[in-house]
Amino acid sequence: MSSVSLPANPNENLLRQHAAREKWVLLGLSAPALVLVLVVMVLPVGWLFYLSFIGSEGTFSMENYARMLESKSYGRIFVTTFKVSLLTTAICIAIGYPLAYFLSQLPSRAANICMLAVLLPFWTSLLVRTYAWLVLLQRKGLINNWGIEAGLWSEPLALVHNLTGTLIGMVHIMLPFLVLPLYSSMKAIDPDYLKAASNLGARPAQSFWQVFFPLSLPGLFAGSLIVFVLCLGFFVTPAVLGGGKVIMVSNQITNNIELFFNWGAASALGVVLLVVTLVILYVASKLLPLNNVLGGGH
């Protein structure tokens, strides 16, 4: 049967060419996305980065960054940004964790229906939801009317055009970003772990705190991080519901461009925000067990 004599490494070159061709095909498939990212992400960000180093004279200067350090108002803006983001994240955790836990314990059919209730607002335009809150929360809005009619409070509460309104709106918008990763990490907890804990003598509360909660932490960290980072760059909700009293970095960027036509200052703020966000993501990915949520393998 082996009468045909073969060279030393049969078909070696053909197989290698074939493997090389497959690589090009894969590259070809990802090319449209790569080009898109390059054109709409890398180039504009690079351009902003360049602009941030151009002073009012039109030459290279650090004045945009120097102003941020000197001016107290910029410090205040960063404090506000972090305060609003942290508060939103904290409230999201307080509301979202029990919700995700509840959903994870439901039979899958009921859980899917309830999940729809979480997702429905998620699919609605952010602008629509923000203005809806404006209608609900204003002095003569639905909530104040009901509260006064029900005798819960007598004077209209200041629920909007301030921090409260901003937080209400942002929590509502951010909640799914926390609940979804948290829910999926809770669903991944093998019910046998809880049975084992119970079998070994753990009361329900002990099972929860010593087994379920630690195992849900990766999902909680991931969800909180997503919420926090998204909050840092949030614009619409503080603009509409904050009534000019809650000025976050992105609002100041808009002001710089729309009111002062100062692209350099706006760019510098954008660069700082981007760098801060990247640093937070980097530190979090090193410290927290985020698993594969950020694509960091396992």
Binding site: K195, A196, A197, S198, N199, G201, A202, L215
Partner: protein, 364 residues
């Protein structure tokens, strides 16, 4: 970890229904103090449901379960004080080996030093000394199995439950662990209820086997009695290989194809008698040599060499196909047989087991 703490288990009339399906149908079962009892049955037979009822994870519709003298049917799982090895092991991935094994002790407010001692002792029992600081995901399947076992026995429970604990291991390791678990049981003396669908595992390990099907107890007896004297067709069919021959009756004697069948163990029954033919109990013989045996004439259909044994498929006069398993020693009778040969098969009267087909529903 002493025998004195072992408790008997008394299960009576335990019933659990899921819709129209009975997972457990009026099960009565006594597990003796310190006994190794295996619940054996096909998947969906109810054996796991029964184990879960013992652990407290399944609440029966009615019935009574007593550990010793205490009714525990309403006791929540965390107060039952039974050790359990899960099929998935259920080792907590966020704790190392020592924390897993020490978990039940920590819950029982045992002091730190004593926890360390007892964890070491338990790890020693399962031959995992020095593995305390390993993460769970650094362990092999066999090691996880041992840790799960250590965690189940470290708090000296009076009853140990095991749910197919060896099913995830490969064959060699599984057989090794079967012997090891058996030794461990002898050493610790806990009343042990073991669930498996693997008949060989059940035969290897158990003091007694409870064969379960459709939520009912089919037979409860020692491994040897279960294999040699199955109470009904299901047990004979599920444990070991069997061919069933329907027998006739003539003058109060059992017959097959006109020949009288000698069955000293048969005491008569209401239904149709059926003879159980086990492949390894049939021997190749001749009319002259086998005159004290029950003899059958057969035609060889197929021969299969399997290394340790050879299989022969042969057809009896009435067309029933029987299987004969024979050793492969040099010179064995089966080596001189060819397909198409007419041969004589013998069955020793002591190996001649006749069941009553009506016995299916009743358990002894």
């Amino acid at each position: 970890m002493s025998q004195s703490g072992a408790l008997p288990i008394s299960i009576s009339q335990v019933t659990k229904r899921y819709g129209d399906v009975y997972a457990l149908d009026n099960v009565d079962l006594e597990v003796k103090r310190g006994e190794f009892l295996t619940l054996l049955g096909p998947s969906g037979s109810g054996k796991t449901t029964l184990l879960m009822a013992l652990a407290g994870f399944t609440r029966p519709d009615h019935g009574s379960i007593r550990f010793g003298d205490n009714e525990i049917i309403l006791t929540p799982p965390h107060k039952r004080d039974v050790g359990m090895v899960f099929q998935s092991y259920a080792l907590f991935p966020h704790m190392d080996v020592a924390a897993n094994v020490g978990f039940p002790l920590k819950l029982r407010k045992v002091g730190k030093a004593e926890i360390a001692d007892r964890v070491n002792e338990a790890l020693e029992t399962v031959q995992l000394v020095g593995y305390g600081e390993r993460r769970i995901n650094q362990l092999s399947g066999g090691q996880k199995q041992r840790v799960a076992l250590a965690r189940a026995i470290v708090f000296s429970p009076r009853i140990l439950l095991m749910d197919e604990p060896l099913s995830a291991l490969d064959k060699k390791l599984r057989e090794h662990m079967q012997i090891e678990l058996r030794h461990l049981h002898e050493k610790l003396g806990m009343t042990t209820v073991y669930v498996t669908h693997d008949q060989r595992e059940a035969l290897t390990m158990s003091d007694r086997i409870a064969v379960i099907n459709h939520g009912r107890l089919m037979q409860l007896d020692t491994p040897r009695a279960i294999y040699d004297r199955p109470a009904n067709r299901f047990v004979a069919d599920f444990i070991g290989e069997s061919t069933f021959l329907e027998l006739g009756m003539k003058n109060g004697q059992l017959t097959f194809g006109g020949d009288v069948i000698k069955a000293p163990g048969w005491s008569g029954g209401a239904g149709k008698p059926a003879l159980i033919l086990r492949p390894e109990r049939l021997v190749i013989t001749s009319r002259a040599a086998g005159k004290n045996m029950n003899l059958f004439t057969a035609t060889v259909r197929e021969l299969v060499y399997q290394g340790d044994t050879s299989l022969m498929y042969a057809c009896l006069a009435d067309g029933t196909e029987v299987t004969v398993r024979a050793g492969t020693r040099t010179g064995a009778a089966i080596e001189n047989i060819a397909i198409g040969d007419d041969i004589t098969l013998g069955l020793h009267p002591d190996d001649t087991v006749v069941i009553d087909e009506a016995a299916e529903k009743t358990a002894s």
